[in-house]
Symmetry: C2
Subunit: 206 residues, 2 copies
DNA sequence: GTCTATAAGAGGATAGAC
DNA sequence: GTCTATCCTCTTATAGAC
């Protein structure tokens, strides 16, 4: 894979963005990682760094969209399947030393309010993931509304759990989120709210 | 609030990071936003940009930790409370034009594999949120394990839903994730997996 | 403790030979 | 289509007067 110069540049950039995000990747890094000289980068991608990032995100996003259907396939209970998806994510993350798995989520967080072209690209990837998951769950008998809802929840919760797990270097956020998302908490009673239970603000007047 | 020069610098930096993240905020921006000259920044924070960001994140994180207990207080059913938290988040986000709400999550995504000092700072904030939420739910009658699990799930799902909502400029990820998280999906049956339902990879050979 | 001027380097992008 | 040399801007950080 990655035969042409173009493809080599894109896969090298996706890999760099997976680790360092968008802003922290320099064109110099792409030159070093891809082996292509700087002139070739601008020859193939006249839009510069932003265009390279955009195309790399779209290609990486398409590959990751297959993951949820693949992991759900062996299960015939939605709750079990959801939990299995998060468990697999936890295992993968621990095995790779809590490195980032996919560049889309972290780059999305970085560019949502700053680089409109890349916000649109990451938005398109999220939309494709939701549409693909919705079609998959619908094919397995869920109504369109339910299929879409569960897909949205899996995508958002997975992105958030990845972020917290990566930050804490701990799989608990993934395993726990998967379990809670599968089970839900409707009908669990809470005692009357106690004022004293609200934690105090720790002001940093150091 | 923010009387001293130190505090002015920290609040200005937190506000800048909320919008632009860490890397895209230049010291020049902090100078402009805080009114303090560059020399004062390095006088009060010898550790430079990273130290300023670290202290700003800790201070901002402490304030946001109060949000979950505050929003949960009126509810005596856990599922209802969870849904209310996400609904409130959706309302706030729409009212502010889908701007980022809190700098912690987006900066965490940016620095987790690159700036160890800030990874530790964001990890400490997440840990405080979970500990605070666990104590709160325990005070409302949940067992310690259940209290911790539901807090972890709320924090991770909320961060992920914020990210996707901000990227799509749409509240659906927040409202839907809240609803699904509250309800859960255990026991929902799935039909046999159909191979054809797996979406194809869209290669960007444009 | 406040502020200005400047150093030293890294950033993205381009021109133009081959 | 490949590759090198270079431009100009912007970055963080420091020195040192006040």
């Amino acid at each position: 894979m990655a035969r042409t110069t173009r493809e080599t540049i894109l896969t090298a950039t996706a890999e760099l963005m997976r680790v360092k995000g968008f802003g922290a990747v320099a064109m110099k890094d792409v030159v070093a990682a891809s082996g292509a000289p700087i002139g070739s980068l601008y020859h193939h991608f006249p839009g510069g760094k932003t265009q390279i990032a955009r195309e790399a995100l779209v290609a990486a996003g398409a590959a990751y969209g297959l993951l949820i259907p693949t992991l759900m396939a062996p299960h015939d209970d939605l709750g079990e399947g959801v939990e299995a998806v998060f468990m697999q994510a936890a295992t993968d993350m621990a095995e790779t030393g809590f490195a980032n798995m996919c560049p889309v989520g972290s780059v999305a967080a970085e560019v949502a309010d700053t680089v409109e072209e890349l916000r649109e690209a990451t938005a398109a990837v999220f939309t494709d993931w939701v549409d693909g998951g919705t079609a998959y769950f619908a094919s397995r008998g869920l109504g369109t509304t339910a299929a879409r809802e569960v897909t949205v929840a899996i995508v958002t919760a997975l992105e958030g759990a990845f972020l917290v797990a990566r930050t804490l270097r701990d799989t608990e956020p993934l395993t726990t989120t998967g379990r809670v998302l599968a089970r839900g908490y409707v009908g669990v009673p809470l005692a009357a709210a106690a004022e004293s239970a609200v934690p105090r603000v720790t002001t940093s007047s150091a």
